[in-house]
Symmetry: C2
Subunit: 360 residues, 2 copies
DNA sequence: ATGGGTAATGAAAAGGTTTACATGACTTTC
DNA sequence: GAAAGTCATGTAAACCTTTTCATTACCCAT
């Protein structure tokens, strides 16, 4: 009571302003200024650059803010500052277990630095991609995180002459465009994975998941080849099979393998989903894994440990990837000097039960 | 060329305006108006209410828009309209496989209706929840989707006197607050699940996952009890065990079961994660599933089919849930008369290999 | 005392829309 | 042929900030 009256007195200082206090509309900076007995400029400064305002007035402003429940209108601020403090994340499928923790990492880092995230699920539909660009062009988002592996349709079309918005490609690099990239070192990871199979005595190692179009797949294949070569093993090209990265494609590839006269003893699969398909196919044929065949995946998706046999694989540090890429993007946005335009994180070998020593 | 000149002529009509055409800044409505030779009001109308503008001028406006590459500045529009066309989604863990497709559904429906989504990962941290409310209070989001099962911290505190923003609770209802809800019919689903076990000849059926605090768990427990009662079976209360819904809790509960003198023949688990824990525990003890014990889950999370034995469970129509809840929220937002404040979707029984006839 | 510098504040512009109200031309109606 | 509409458009206010520039008050050194 007492203290309400005190503030009322303050507000009276400036005479009959157009006070809106009892209206139900949210308080504006003007309401705060009125109560604190200062100009709106001072209120703005008190909140955003506290150092530039006298202690006593700052206190009055803070009190007034508390009293009115004022929160600055983000739209007005963004309009004036031309910064929304929002980041648009474009992903082909938000539900993809591969993305889950990357999203969490992205969100965590963004939130920590006062940014919000805005999600666009494109399903690789050019129309949806282009549509989401309006968030960028209309200033609703300051930057772009690309989980799609390619430039969104609208940007591709307008060509490289137009200046691209600040963006970072994550997980899957963008071909033919020097977009900063954050992801796992796929080449090195595949090498480590293959080396592990070799260390278990395997020499006839198949690679399931060759793909000309997907950069990640090519890198992993190269890692596989390098490891084989490094160990002095020759690659039977009939053991290198195409697959598009789905469980079904893995199953199919494994089936195709059985028309050959000779079989590998181990399968290195381009990712866990593919590996799962291979496991399903082999189990269906009655083989005992990992006794009869070893199967190695890549990614360590959430259910890799629940499959039977549980999947030996390379773990992607997803949380880290998310955080690092958001960190990079925000650094770019805030004008910090960014030296590394490519951040490759290490993936770790996760030993489980789908890989065993080659049978003597 | 020719046609550029034509437009230049138009723009000249109004005399020396402050044309900004060659500047690198994005075009504003004023630039368009200048070129089309109309006022900015007309441009706005031509774009937003085409019917209110003469055909000929509308064409000129459209041409001018194309020429300038104009896109309306979302910030300015939102500021003026007090509508951001953004929806804030609050989830405890975006990476949770239970949410994945709900998110996709939410995004799809929102995008279809011209809204964008903004994601807040709260990790059940009151501070983060409260922090995200600024998106609502600052007009950055028009509505709220709650996947958390409770009101975000800031709202709880301010009490029910303050008017709540438009919101819809999804998946997990919010207790003690009449928030519109969209989710699966947990009671009915649990009844169907239990009935299935009963139909397989089981009579000693355990319920793993009792929880006093989680509404969903209580509903499922009630469904279980109702089914048992309906079949004239008595529930051995020692078979009703608490568990918090994690895999680890399921494993622990199953272990606790083995200190009893009598065992159930089937386990109905409050969710798939719990069921997985139970399967792990039973397998570790050397039992042969589903021969020795039947295990039933709930949710049909993504890896339910990859577990061994693959999990018989109740499928949540996640995509539908997401779409329906966004639809409901947007309807509320756009002032449509909303009759149903609760939408319960049916969950379907998914038959797999973790449930079998009771051994004779 | 005077001039120059600094610190705290205010007035007003700018940011880009939408929209209530006004205006003017043209059509209809008696 | 005048009054009453209707239709297309324009003017200007409103939305709520941040920030430039100007102003005032004060202090210090000369």
């Amino acid at each position: 009571m007492d203290h309400k009256a005190r503030f009322a007195g303050h507000s009276g200082d400036r005479g009959g302003g157009k006070s809106n206090l009892n209206a139900s509309k949210p308080a504006t900076i003007e309401d705060v200024a009125l109560i604190a007995g200062v100009s709106i400029a001072t209120v703005s400064r008190a909140l955003n650059e506290p150092g530039k305002v006298a202690d006593s007035t700052r206190r009055r402003v803070i009190d007034a803010v508390a009293q009115t429940g004022y929160t600055t209108n983000a739209m007005a601020r963004s309009l004036r500052m031309r910064r929304s403090h929002m980041i648009l994340i474009l992903a082909p499928d938000v539900g993809d277990p591969n993305f889950s923790n990357i999203l969490v990492g992205l969100e965590t880092e963004a939130s920590k630095r006062g940014y919000g995230i805005l999600i666009g699920n494109t399903q690789n539909d050019p129309e949806r991609e282009a549509n989401y660009l309006r968030f960028i062009s209309s200033n609703q988002a300051d930057g772009l995180i690309l989980l799609t592996g390619h430039l969104p349709y609208g940007l591709t079309a307008s060509g490289p002459n137009k200046k691209l918005p600040p963006m970072v490609a994550v997980n899957e690099p963008v071909a033919n465009a020097s977009i900063p990239f954050v992801g796992v070192d796929n080449f090195e990871g595949a090498r480590v994975a293959t080396d592990h199979l070799i260390s278990q005595g395997h020499t006839r190692i198949a690679f399931i998941g060759k793909s000309l179009s997907r950069t990640v797949a090519s890198l992993r294949e190269r890692g596989y080849r390098t490891a084989m070569q490094g160990a002095g093993l020759t690659i039977d090209e009939r053991f290198v099979l195409e697959a598009d990265g789905t469980t079904e494609s893995g199953r199919g590839a494994a089936e195709r393998m059985f028309v050959r006269d000779q079989l590998p003893t181990a399968f290195f699969c381009v990712n866990d989903a593919t590996a799962l398909g291979v496991i399903i196919a082999l189990s269906a044929r009655g083989y005992d894994l990992p006794l009869d065949f070893s199967v190695m995946g890549f990614d360590d998706i959430s259910y890799a440990s629940f499959v039977t046999p549980s999947l030996t694989t390379m773990k992607q540090p997803r949380l880290q990837i998310g955080e690092a890429s958001m960190d990079l993007l925000l650094a770019m946005l805030e004008g910090e000097e960014v030296k590394k335009r490519e951040i490759l994180l290490r993936s770790d070998l996760i030993l489980r039960n789908s890989v065993a020593m080659r049978r003597a």
